[in-house]
Chain length 125, copies 2
C-alpha cells in the first residue's frame, strides 16, 4: 500500500509538472541537450526567478536532474521518468483499444452472420 | 498562435486531469469497458457527488466521453486523447534518447581513438 502511495504521489507530481505550457517548453528545450537556468530562461519573457521555479517543479517531479560542471549546474532531461508516464498511459490505452477491437469484431461477425444466413438460404435454393 | 494556445490548453487540462490518483483509477476502470457513474463510484469510499466531479474533470479534459443508452449515460475512455499525450511525451523523450546515444557514441569513439593511436605507434615501431 505504501508503495502504491509513493508511486501515486510520484505520478501526481509528474503529471502536474507537465500541466503547464512553460514547463512543457522547458522539457522540449532540454530534449535537445542539457542547459543552464540562464540558457533556459533566455527565450522567455519572464524573470529568471519565475523560470527557476518552474525548473524546481520539474526537478521535484523527477523529470529533470541537475549535474555540477565547475560553477555551472546544467539541467538534464530524465527520459526514464518520461517513459514511466507513457508506460502508465499506454497500459490503459492499449487495454481500451483491445477491448474496442474485440467489440468491433463481435459486432462485425454479428452483422455478417445476419445477412449471410439469408444469402446462404438463397444460394441453397 | 491561437492553435498553439488551444493545444496548450488541451494539454494543460489533460495532464492536470491525470495528476490525481482517483482520476487515474477511473481511467484504469474505464479501460476495461464503459461504466455508469454509479458503477464507477461503487469501489470508492467517497460520495457519488465527489466521484461525479472527478468524472467531469476527465470529461472536460477529453479523456472520457459519455453516451446515452436509454436512461443510462455510460462513460467511455477516449484512447485517442490518451495517445495524444503519449505522443507529446514520446516526441521529446525519443529526441533526448537519440541525443544521449549520439553523445555516448562520440565518447566511445573518443576513448577508443585515444589509446588506439598510442597502440598504433607501438605497433609501428
Amino acid at each position: 500500500m505504501e508503495e502504491t502511495d509513493s508511486r501515486d504521489a510520484a505520478l501526481d507530481r509528474a503529471f502536474l509538472a507537465l500541466a503547464d505550457p512553460v514547463r512543457r517548453r522547458l522539457i522540449a528545450r532540454l530534449s535537445r541537450g542539457p542547459a543552464t537556468v540562464n540558457e533556459l530562461a533566455e527565450p522567455f519573457e519572464m524573470t529568471k526567478q519565475a523560470v527557476s521555479k518552474h525548473i524546481q517543479v520539474l526537478e521535484h517531479a523527477g523529470l529533470i536532474t541537475r549535474s555540477r560542471d565547475g560553477q555551472r549546474r546544467p539541467c538534464h532531461l530524465a527520459p526514464a521518468a518520461l517513459e514511466e508516464l507513457t508506460a502508465w498511459i499506454d497500459s490503459y490505452r492499449l487495454v481500451a483499444e483491445a477491448q474496442f477491437r474485440r467489440l468491433e469484431a463481435l459486432l462485425g461477425s454479428a452483422e455478417t452472420a445476419g445477412p449471410s444466413r439469408e444469402n446462404r438460404k438463397e444460394e441453397e435454393q
